[in-house]
């Protein structure tokens, strides 16, 4: 089962001003991270990203990850300090048919004369709020030993 995504995160991902970075690995395990602006939640539990470049390393790695059931990760950074780390598994690569063609038309309407290689579907498995304020508060509460003494000095 895919992991449910809270509405505030859906809104953040679907906001075109949010930065979304897809990290994948290749068959040798080498990592590769690239910003993917065309990433949206169109269905609860799934991320859809549009791969515009057939030749991109991300697309090759994504394909490899689907073939071998490996996770990919996405970093989502909002302009108010929001920062999420998401992990999921490639579920589907759509290269033909009505869904592909809808996205093909919309991306070209938006960017002009560009191409679309694939509509990639990621099934979400893990969501972590990585914003500093949230993580810092968590650490202060759970691991009070992680402190420099001067911070506690009278």
């Amino acid at each position: 089962m895919a992991t449910e995504i809270p509405q505030k995160l859906i809104d953040l991902i679907n906001d075109e001003n949010t930065i979304k970075v897809l990290a994948t690995v290749n068959e040798k395990g080498h990592p590769y991270s690239v910003e993917k602006p065309f990433m949206r939640v169109l269905e609860q539990g799934y991320l859809t990203y549009l791969e515009l470049l057939e030749s991109s390393k991300s697309y090759k790695n994504f394909t490899w990850s689907l073939w071998y059931d490996q996770r990919v990760s996405i970093t989502v950074i909002g302009n108010k300090g929001e920062n999420w780390q998401i992990q999921g598994r490639p579920e589907k690569i759509i290269v033909s048919g009505p869904v592909f063609e809808d996205h093909y038309r919309s991306v070209r309407k938006q960017l002009g004369d560009v191409d679309l290689a694939a509509v990639c579907l990621i099934k979400l498995e893990l969501l972590v709020n990585e914003s500093f304020s949230y993580q810092f508060a968590q650490q202060e509460q759970r691991q009070p030993i992680f402190n420099h003494l001067d911070r506690l000095a009278k």
């Binding site: 290749n26 068959e27 057939e54 090759k60 790695n61 394909t63 490899w64 689907l66 073939w67 071998y68 579920e91 589907k92 690569i93 759509i94 290269v95 033909s96 048919g97 009505p98 592909f100 063609e101 093909y104 038309r105 070209r108 679309l116 694939a118």
Partner: protein, 415 residues
């Protein structure tokens, strides 16, 4: 002793475990192509003729030797195209069923993989100005337009057609039952291409494939002239001189290849050598042997690299025919070794080899033979892909999207 030499064939799961370099989805594709499919009533109840592509005109016949309107084929969840056809149940095909709201490929009641039918292109169901159904003129794959300029092969005139091939018998069948013409009219082909291009995002290449035509001042001149005319008329639909395209044809001489390259928008060229062994080539492809010869075929492929450029030339083999009885290899490991040796020789000279899974077609000479084991095809895919890696050969013009028929070519997606 390798399993390739033992009698028991490994199952899909065993092959996948033994050859992890080939992803399971590609092994599934191979096996579905190898064994064919049977569609259950449940699967067929999901077939929507408005949304899905029904099988139409084809160059070669299917395993059931019928032209009934069944699904054209399947696409897997990684975008891999499976080219397979309905197969009589006695031959133990995979079964395509509809279970728990999903179209699935099953084997002995076990779900193997999800699949979808090919989407129907917008031009299917429309008619040309002369009243012909457009899908009888140009056919489609999920991302490719396919033209069969001529479904007659002149090698058949003196009974020298390739032994696994049923082109002429199938063309007669199609003509009598569906009225599909054996030869395309260039203007009509262009008319359909123009219509197909009105569907944004649907097609990424055009492929022409036909039977050989020996006629002309120099052998095959007429075949070349016809392709030039056809490609020029099709080219009028594009604003660039060159357009993503592939011609699968006879191995032409240098003059003919230069003409094709210079005078048309053609980008990729394939001359299928069919079997990578001279002795077997002479037996299985007597027409090709008579008119060109094995060594000359190879030389022409190599010369084509200079004309079209590296990465734009390849040759196809009908994998498994090298094991045909009585003259073929008696062991799969010997066949694999010999094939790889020849493929490597071509690879060092810039020519890629890709394979098709051999289907013993009912209307061909080899109708009563059996294709190779799954492990053989998986090993071959691994080997040919390995050569492309080793010699930095790409086959973008004939890959998973622009063609979809070659399991080894599917692997190049991640190169």
């Amino acid at each position: 002793m390798s399993v390739l030499e033992m009698n028991r064939e490994l199952s899909l799961d065993e092959v996948v475990e033994k050859h992890p370099e080939v992803p399971r989805l590609i092994a599934v594709k191979i096996d579905v192509q190898r064994r064919g499919v049977h569609y259950t009533d449940g699967a067929l109840s999901r077939l929507d003729k408005e949304l899905h592509q029904i099988r139409g005109a084809t160059l070669f016949g299917s395993r059931d030797a019928k032209l009934t309107p069944l699904p054209e084929s399947l696409i897997l969840r990684d975008g891999t195209t499976v080219l397979t056809d309905p197969t009589p149940v006695e031959q133990n095909p995979y079964v395509v069923d509809f279970i728990d709201g999903k179209l699935v490929i099953t084997d002995q009641g076990t779900i193997i993989e999800e699949a979808e039918y090919w989407p129907k292109p917008d031009f299917y169901g429309k008619k040309t100005v002369s009243g012909k159904p457009m899908e009888f003129v140009v056919t489609a794959r999920p991302q490719r337009l396919q033209l069969m300029p001529s479904s007659y092969c002149h090698f058949w005139k003196n009974d020298h057609g390739c032994k696994y091939c049923d082109i002429v018998n199938h063309a007669k069948h199609q003509k009598s039952e569906l009225g599909i013409p054996a030869k395309l009219k260039p203007a009509e082909a262009s008319e359909v291409i123009k219509e197909a291009l009105k569907q944004p995002g649907r097609f990424s290449s055009i492929c022409l494939t036909a039977g050989s035509d020996t006629r002309g001042v120099e052998p095959f001149d007429e075949e070349v002239e016809y392709y030039v005319e056809l490609l020029q008329v099709i080219g009028e639909n594009f604003k660039t001189k060159k357009f993503p395209s592939q011609l699968i044809a006879t191995a032409f001489n240098e003059k003919q290849l230069e003409k094709l390259y210079r005078e048309t928008g053609l980008m990729g060229y394939t001359a299928d050598i069919e079997v990578l062994n001279e002795h077997l080539f002479n037996w299985i492809c007597p027409g090709k042997a008579e008119w060109i010869g094995y060594q000359e075929w190879k030389k022409r492929l190599i010369r084509a690299v200079d004309i079209f450029g590296p990465g734009n030339i390849n040759t196809g083999i009908v994998a498994g025919v090298e094991l045909a009885k009585p003259h073929g290899f008696s062991s799969e490991s010997d066949a694999l070794e010999a094939t790889m040796e020849e493929a490597e020789d071509l690879a060092t000279k810039g020519v890629s080899t890709i394979f098709m899974v051999w289907i013993p077609r009912p209307q061909s000479c080899f109708h009563d033979q059996k294709n190779a084991s799954l492990e053989y095809y998986v090993s071959l895919a691994k080997g040919l892909h390995g050569l492309r890696k080793k010699y930095s050969l790409n086959i973008d013009f004939d890959d998973y999207r622009r063609c979809g028929n070659h399991p080894d070519g599917d692997l190049t997606r991640i190169l």
